[in-house]
């Protein structure tokens, strides 16, 4: 039998404990979080109150920037952002819940198509979805070329309806991932209990929805924060004359001369307050209730066999959703990439593959794709590691203050528009203090990747929280009492149990980073243009064909990476890992 060690004297025990506390893995984690997330956000937001702190004005402390932000023009755009955030969050989460139920709990044939389509939808940045719709309905667009003109659809598209619609489309995959991960871990015994006690199918669905509340609220919070900080849709569909949202007015402020960074920071703080509202709503709705349902006793679910009418309705719903969210923009992008002279006044349009051949042959068009693929690979890997730790902390019953601190900054980072986040990075890492201590990161690939990781971390974390919430604490406690230290417990039990959600989160982050626009635009180092910047340059130079061909290549490459990742998982992961959350056919 292994004997315990003799007792240590009190002083040496305390010294050892002190050292272990000071350089524990969690200390390193917190250092990383503060460096890449907290510091850039705080420094930039501080400019709103103290312009002199970063040489942006004469005052050490002032509210002048908030007075400037109280202008009706800015206030109206902030209100518009709030409304768009609420509408898109509610619709996206409701649709995602329905889709998750069809895909995971029924034998609907469309579920297989959805599983493939979800990553395409995740991959497509909002500006690409908006661009696809624009290419079809704009004047001299694809429909016009075929002699069709629908001005009322165009009017709807360039207004609140169009913005809310695209933001909802963009929000659905985020909400779906969170809800589906939680639903996978939810055994069907709860629904069966409703049915055997006289409840209808609807009552069972309501019970399942209640048990999924943490995931539903996480979905709402993510979509709300993503929507109010979204710049892609705003850049395409928002305008001062029609319906301006906060990120659009922020962009105009940043691009105006002279730039008022304190004003931008003030608007950002107001956006953050909107996020606080989302957080409060989430915590008030849950009120500390526990929804831990995943354990060793959870059994795989059995798919519900739909009647012919139900089967038709579920398939039709999924296909209609896919046509609206993916079909239209993909058709817009592909058709635009194959039409020579689109958007111009020439009348002899040609349809061919010349634009694709140009992308393959031209290093100017090809190298951004390769650069972004490398950056996305590193970002996804690091972000998923940090997100796994963060999400575990967020659902922990311990770490009260640290948990609230992390929760706030992660959600704040989602709420911060990417363009503002990038400016924060410039402030933080271009400060004389940073230079003095040898942090020469400004203008490097390393800074760009760090910013990618920081912007990806909040949504990646949120996507894992629902699943972590279902993880029974006793499973890791059992590891500790049976001889594993904290790290081994993570490697042998926590990570395997959430391996599939982790893989999904990795793919989500990879796809998101590949086509990231605002941070890329502000922080890309000379000679290393990321993909979104390459596409933007092409579109800016009226090379619609080349730009859209790059989009199509990027999406195809990302789908291949996702397919390979899942194929490797299915082939290499142990049987026990793969059967978690799997339904009977």
């Amino acid at each position: 039998m292994q004997k315990v060690e003799p007792s240590r004297d009190s002083f040496s025990s305390r010294a050892l404990l002190f050292l272990r506390t000071k350089i524990s893995p969690m200390t390193i984690f917190w250092l990383v979080i503060v460096s890449i997330l907290v510091l850039p956000i705080l420094l930039f937001l501080a400019v709103a109150f103290s312009p002199k702190l970063l040489d942006q004005g004469p005052e050490w402390f002032t509210f002048n920037s908030f007075k400037a932000a109280a202008d009706p023009y800015f206030l109206r755009s902030i209100w518009h952002s709030f409304v768009m955030g609420v509408v898109s969050a509610i619709f996206a989460t409701a649709i995602a819940l329905g889709v998750a139920w069809i895909v995971l709990r029924t034998n609907s044939a469309a579920r297989k198509v959805w599983n493939l389509a979800i990553f395409a939808l995740l991959l497509a940045p909002s500006y690409l979805i908006a661009l696809g719709w624009e290419r079809i309905f704009e004047r001299a667009g694809v429909l016009n070329i075929f002699g069709i003109d629908v001005p009322f659809v165009r009017d709807l598209l360039y207004g609140p309806f169009g913005i809310a619609m695209i933001l909802t489309f963009k929000g659905i995959p985020f909400a779906y991932l969170v809800i589906s991960n939680a639903m996978r871990g939810l055994g069907e015994e709860f629904e069966q209990a409703v049915r055997v006690h006289g409840g209808s199918r609807l009552a069972a669905f309501k019970m399942m929805s209640t048990l999924l509340l943490p995931a539903l609220w996480s979905g709402i919070a993510i979509v709300f924060a993503e929507s109010i900080s979204d710049f892609g849709v705003a850049s395409q569909l928002s305008s001062p004359g029609r319906y301006s949202v906060a990120t659009f007015t922020l962009y105009r402020s940043v691009m105006s001369i002279p730039v008022s960074f304190p004003l931008c920071a003030a608007i950002s703080i107001i956006l953050l307050l909107l996020i606080v509202v989302a957080l409060l709503a989430q915590s008030r709705a849950l009120r500390g209730r526990s929804f831990r349902v995943l354990s060793g006793r959870t059994r795989p679910i059995t798919r519900q066999k739909l009647a012919p009418l139900g089967s038709f309705a579920s398939n039709a719903s999924i296909y209609a959703l896919l046509i609206l969210t993916l079909g239209v923009p993909v058709f817009g992008a592909i058709s635009a990439s194959m039409i020579q002279g689109l958007g111009t006044v020439i009348s002899n349009y040609q349809i061919n593959f010349d634009n694709y051949i140009r992308v393959i042959k031209s290093p100017l068009l090809r190298s951004p794709l390769l650069f972004s693929a490398e950056a996305a690979l590193i970002t996804a890997t690091v972000a998923v590691i940090l997100a796994a730790i963060s999400s575990r902390m967020l659902v922990s019953t311990k770490n009260g203050a640290g948990k609230k601190f992390l929760d706030f900054f992660l959600l704040a980072a989602v709420g911060l528009p990417g363009i503002v986040f990038a400016i924060g990075y410039i402030f933080a890492y271009n400060l004389p203090l940073a230079q003095r201590y040898g942090f020469h990161l400004y203008g490097t690939v390393a800074l760009l990747v760090l910013a990618y990781i920081a912007t990806a971390l909040p949504s990646t974390t949120r996507s894992l929280v629902g699943n972590m919430n279902q993880f029974q604490e006793s499973l890791s406690e059992a590891c500790r009492v049976h001889g594993s230290n904290g790290i081994k417990t993570w490697l042998t039990v926590v990570l395997p149990l959430i391996s599939r959600p982790l893989l999904a989160a990795w793919c989500l982050t990879y796809c998101g980073t590949l086509l990231e626009l605002p941070v890329s635009q502000i922080l890309f180092p000379p000679g290393h243009a990321p993909l979104a910047v390459g596409i933007d340059h092409a579109l800016g130079n009226y090379d619609f064909g080349g730009g859209t061909a790059m989009e199509v290549f990027a999406i195809i490459s990302a789908l291949i990476v996702v397919a390979v990742a899942f194929a490797l998982y299915e082939r290499l992961a142990p049987v026990g890992w793969k059967q978690l959350g799997r339904a009977h056919r």
């Binding site: 305390r14 060793g296 006793r297 959870t298 500790r480 009492v481 049976h482 026990g576 978690l580």
Partner: protein, 362 residues
């Protein structure tokens, strides 16, 4: 099969305190468990027994006081030796089997700390599974096993590494009665075979009496009494211990006469001779706690009260009756034959198995 070799930890807990907000889960509790001893902590929900066992495991940390495993102080002030360094194992209430590992792998996991060769490790896992009757279920995943089989895997996982301390956190509470009884016997024999010290918590007094070398009755974070099962049952130190270790009912009356170990209590028109463990005075109001074993329908007893049968339950070896008397109701009154509901009958009370406590000590 090996027999006990007293190789377990000696557990010493000194003045342990643990608060959750304003609630004291452990209120200066002290306890010693000798090596190889099977200690059962018996107490109601919220009494602090789970906190105590989790603090011993190192999953929770006490606010003050200290915990020793043998001579090593594992918990005091900032010192908190990690669970994996305490050489113990635990059976959880919800089994805590890792769902991504098969039964074999679950058991094997707990053996990794011993750093054995693969072959030796395999043999020990197989032996452990065989000991709990699951030698053919090694490849099954937790969801493919019944509740009883899952708990057996948890038991095999706990014993496989020959730990010095075995902790049981209400391991049988999720199982049906028959399975509970069978697993209780397995826990009792296997634990004693490996010679580990064991701490078992439960709120079920029959489980406690069946398993324990010693029982500690815990209430509101304090130990009320620690003793061998017979003493706990025969000589409960206070009303709480008597109440929690099984009574058929309680009558309230006044002390009429007192001798060294017994007294006469007047209950309205009737009188009962009962035992007492604390000093009583004539005229004092007392609660008479009556053990189920004290009651019978014997006709030749002097200690008798008239009653009405309210319910009868068949228990295989005989019948248990619920009765109403003028002074309160009693349950679990056993007889080999059934008496009809509504029938009038005298119930006899064995003076040695009912105890009087002052009413104000409630």
């Amino acid at each position: 099969m090996s027999t006990s070799t007293n190789k377990g930890h000696r557990i010493k807990i000194e003045k342990a305190r643990k608060n959750y907000g304003s609630l004291a889960a452990l209120d200066g509790l002290s306890l010693t468990i000798e090596p190889g001893q099977f200690m059962v902590l018996l107490g109601p929900s919220g009494s602090g027994k789970s906190t105590l066992i989790r603090s011993l495991a190192g999953i929770e940390k006490i606010d003050s006081g200290s915990i020793f495993l043998d001579k090593q102080e594992v918990n005091r002030g900032p010192i908190n030796i990690a669970p994996e360094k305490r050489n113990l194992a635990m059976v959880f209430q919800d089994y805590a089997l890792w769902p991504h590992l098969s039964a074999f792998e679950n058991v094997e996991y707990a053996l990794q700390r011993r750093k054995l060769s693969k072959e030796v490790s395999r043999q020990r896992v197989e032996t452990a599974l065989e000991r709990v009757g699951l030698s053919t279920k090694g490849k099954n995943y937790p969801h493919e096993l019944s509740g009883g089989e899952q708990q057996r895997v948890a038991l095999a996982r706990a014993i496989v590494a020959d730990p010095a301390l075995l902790l049981f956190d209400e391991p049988l509470s999720n199982l049906d009665a028959d399975l509970r009884e069978r697993l209780r016997i397995e826990i009792s024999t296997l634990t004693r075979e490996i010679g580990a010290t064991a701490l078992y918590i439960t709120h079920d007094q029959s489980e406690a009496f069946a398993l324990a070398d010693k029982i500690g009755v815990i209430n509101r974070g304090k130990l009320e009494q620690v003793d061998v099962p017979e003493e706990i049952y025969e000589r409960p130190i206070n009303r709480f211990v008597a109440n929690f270790t099984g009574i058929a009912g309680t009558f309230t009356g006044k002390v009429k006469r007192v001798s060294k170990t017994s007294c006469i209590v007047a209950l309205g028109e009737d009188q009962l001779k009962v035992r007492h463990t604390v000093g009583l005075k004539v005229g004092q109001t007392v609660d008479v706690l009556i053990r189920p074993a004290a009651t019978s329908f014997k006709k030749d007893s002097e200690n008798k009260i008239s009653s009405v049968i309210t319910d009868v339950a068949y228990r295989g070896r005989g019948y248990e009756h619920a009765i109403d008397t003028k002074y309160g109701s009693l349950t679990g009154v056993f007889d080999n034959v059934s008496h009809p509901r509504g029938g009038r009958i005298s119930v006899s009370i064995d003076p040695d198995r009912c105890i009087a406590f002052p009413t104000e000590s409630k």
